[in-house]
């Protein structure tokens, strides 16, 4: 699976301008990052109705704590970490007050990498992603959809690189199995 990193022109510059309180820079940052966060949170959340709340909370946290970002060139892992923490908080809240609706998608645990690549381009991935464990879903999401390197994913998850690699491997294997089951049915 190839993982081309998208260009991030002047992202550090933009973040510094935001830290200095430049509203135009904030507008640009929102335009650049809102679609990415929508995609990320949408793929991570089981409940699409909660994505709006998650998105708002993530942006509020980003605005309130941007001055704590010491290295503006590392905005991407930092932003995803905030999104992840927001998501975790929501899950914790849901755990404390569980909803009556059951999770409709059951956990389903071999094709080649190329088949998986092709499949990743399709909309089916949204359903398949939900069959993954929360941690595995996060690493797949960050690495393949948000184009973060393994080291950056490790930074977001605050987990060693080796663990991320094994999670990626396990998640790929599960996705392949899911794909095979789907194609055989």
């Amino acid at each position: 699976m190839n993982n081309p990193a998208p260009e991030r022109p002047n992202e550090a510059n933009l973040v510094i301008r935001c830290q200095l309180g430049d509203q135009d820079a904030w507008r640009e940052l929102v335009q650049r990052w809102n679609p990415r966060l929508i995609g990320f949170l949408g793929r991570m959340s089981d409940d699409s109705h909660k994505t709006d709340d998650l998105l708002q909370s993530t942006w509020l946290r980003l605005v309130r704590t941007i001055t704590r970002l010491e290295q503006p060139d590392r905005f991407a892992p930092w932003a995803y970490r905030i999104a992840r923490n927001t998501l975790n908080d929501q899950l914790r809240q849901r755990y404390r007050s569980p909803s009556l609706e059951p999770n409709s998608i059951a956990t389903e645990p071999s094709a080649s990498d190329e088949t998986l690549d092709r499949w990743i381009e399709s909309d089916e991935i949204m359903i398949a992603m939900r069959s993954l464990d929360r941690h595995d879903r996060l690493v797949i999401n960050l690495h393949y959809f948000e184009h973060l390197t393994v080291a950056e994913v490790a930074d977001v998850c605050q987990t060693p690189v080796g663990t991320i690699k094994s999670r990626l491997q396990r998640a790929r294997r599960q996705l392949r199995q899911y794909l095979e089951n789907e194609t055989h049915q």
């Binding site: 002047n10 550090a12 510059n13 510094i16 301008r17 935001c18 830290q19 200095l20 309180g21 509203q23 904030w26 507008r27 929102v30 335009q31 809102n34 679609p35 929508i38 995609g39 949170l41 949408g42 793929r43 699409s48 994505t51 709006d52 998105l55 708002q56 942006w59 509020l60 605005v63 309130r64 704590t65 941007i66 001055t67 704590r68 503006p72 990743i120 381009e121 399709s122 909309d123 991935i125 949204m126 959809f145």
Partner: protein
């Protein structure tokens, strides 16, 4: 790549939320509360120390409770303003200034209370203690300005580098 999941939040709506969050009104009120908490705690401590002895236990308890309340407010507000809700470098500077002004207020009010109650030793002790707080607060102000200067410098360097790259690519094109 698959289409992103549907959401009702457009970029403009999110930017409106961001803009509302950047507005300094609420943080200004919190800074004012921080400043008042510092000065009031200083006064309560000075009153407690200079109260004629022996003091009944319930008065000790009341003074201790009021001082603890003041200190708790200082910690909570300081944490909010410096860590939880500090969106720009200006906020960091403003909070540092609020701390400094509060410290100066503490340094003036508490020795004044001690002097008015005829306790020069307590006044000197409070003067020295508050001098330390003022020094720490001044250091924070300096650091906040230095951080802002550093950001501006990094921005200028980035712009210079971008100009150089543009010039190099134009020269290459010619």
């Amino acid at each position: 790549m698959n289409s992103p999941p549907a959401t009702n939040q457009t970029d403009d709506q999110i930017f409106a939320i961001v803009q509302r969050e950047l507005s300094a009104q609420r943080r200004s009120v919190q800074r004012l509360a921080l400043l008042s908490a510092i000065v009031m705690t200083g006064i309560v401590l000075a009153l407690w120390i200079t109260e004629p002895r022996p003091l009944p236990v319930h008065l000790h308890t009341s003074f201790a409770a009021m001082s603890a309340l003041g200190l708790t407010w200082i910690i909570i507000l300081g944490n909010i303003l410096l860590r939880k809700n500090c969106p720009t470098s200006w906020d960091r500077i403003a909070t540092a200034w609020a701390g400094l002004v509060g410290g100066v207020g503490f340094a003036i009010a508490s020795p004044l209370v001690c002097m008015m109650r005829g306790e020069p030793i307590a006044a000197v002790s409070f003067g020295l203690a508050s001098g330390f707080f003022v020094a720490v607060a001044a250091m924070h102000v300096r650091r906040a300005y230095r951080w802002q200067d550093d950001l501006r410098q990094r921005l200028a360097i980035d712009l210079e580098r971008a100009k150089d790259l543009d010039a190099a690519s134009n020269a290459g094109g010619d």
